[in-house]
Symmetry: C2
Subunit: 233 residues, 2 copies
DNA sequence: CAGTGGTCTAGACCACTTC
DNA sequence: AAGTGGTCTAGACCACTGT
């Protein structure tokens, strides 16, 4: 792991455990850099991550302030994003509705930057949290890039498999979020009625080398999910 | 404007105008750094912005590749976010439903980091694009931080006023997105029926010095808006 | 193997806040 | 005036890609 990420994680935990209480001023960037035996540039990069994630507020000319961070839904989104670590793994399971290998369509090749006729996994899963249907996910992944996916992996964690078994690193995700009316599958698998709005997240996820490895659509009940994120501008 | 932002804008325009055609390899980071008379670190920062915005793909060890970037909805979101520049200003207008100054409630003080009994603007606007209702926005802003808001400013651009008249710089936004059922106002102002899903964006926007200056809820018809964004992880 | 991007450092100047 | 974060530089080493 990179130095700036390590530092960010360590500081995050200290804020979580109120070693730096919310609202209080933290040591200056320079002092923190000394403490972690690093340069100010690297320290600044670590702090920028914490700022983006909402753990600190940086006031130029004044200082760095710890911040309370509501974790609830955030964690769900992190989990959803296939993120690495620690969700209160409060009873998360997958119900595999279908799992096939087939040839990619033209538009799918384009999205995943594949050659014609490349093979892909085609997966439909129902996600269940705390015994209630949580999401309905349509996923495709290139077989060549992510070999060895099977039902066991699907039941455990695809992202865990990619990182721990294949030793690949997850990169960026490009997402599109919109609301939608429920279709027949939503009504069946998300426990919806006809007038229950659905939140859909479409995403293309890439490895750290820039290659797209997943295109997915995830559909959620409107009252069980929200997306939280930070942005500049 | 910062050097890295300038460089990013300039390169973005060159990709837009296909001086670097989509899919083609661009000059290396080092060559670009020379061209813009800057260091590799600064060049890398500029490129990182373009990567986040989806204009290029960076393949470590290989090179930088230009990318086609669908602009349509993206632009709407940028506009919505109150972003600085250039949307095809294809007939955007605001219908002010109400505009008051009042004392902030307790939860509002917390969100905007205000003292008790601080004064805020309370604004409800219907946003109209190309003659059709596009969004319904509930906005509050502290009067002390953003003095001088009036109906003229609301009809023009609040963000333009903040930057050009007050000479303040916009910082981060923390957003929460979810789907919702329409309420009576949505039905009236968004031209909805009872079973039309609504997409809501809640956001707290801060100035570059970290002070929150806006809390808003924007509600959209499900079929006229999507949010697009990039994220690491 | 050479080329490329990712990361890191030490030092510098600036604009801003705070006193 | 002193302290603080934002930005920038030149140079360095590494892991990776592509040949």
């Amino acid at each position: 792991m990179n130095k700036y990420e390590q530092i960010a994680f360590e500081l995050r935990d200290e804020i979580r455990h109120q070693i730096y209480p919310a609202g209080e001023k933290m040591p200056s960037e320079e002092e923190l850099a000394k403490r972690f035996s690093t340069s100010r540039v690297t320290m600044s990069r670590a702090l920028s991550i914490l700022k983006d994630q909402g753990w600190i507020i940086i006031r130029p000319g004044s200082g760095i302030y710890a911040r309370q961070n509501e974790t609830d839904i955030d964690v769900q989104v992190s989990w959803y994003a296939g993120l690495k670590d620690r969700l209160k793994d409060s009873d998360v399971s997958s119900n595999i509705i279908s799992f096939d290998i087939r040839t990619a369509e033209e538009d799918e090749c384009e999205r995943l930057e594949l050659k014609k006729n490349a093979k892909i996994y085609d997966i439909i899963r129902q996600r269940i949290v705390d015994g209630k249907p949580f999401a309905l996910e349509y996923t495709i992944m290139p077989v060549r890039l992510i070999p060895g996916i099977n039902e066991n992996v699907l039941h455990a964690s695809v992202y865990g498999y990619i990182q721990n078994e294949l030793h690949l690193t997850i990169g960026n995700a490009r997402r599109r979020i919109h609301a939608d009316k429920p279709d027949a599958y939503d009504i069946q698998y998300l426990d919806c009625t006809k007038d229950t709005p659905v939140l859909e997240i479409e995403q293309v996820v890439t490895l750290s080398n820039g290659k797209p490895f997943e295109y997915s659509q995830s559909r959620f009940r409107y009252d069980r999910t929200a997306i939280i994120y930070n942005s500049r501008g």
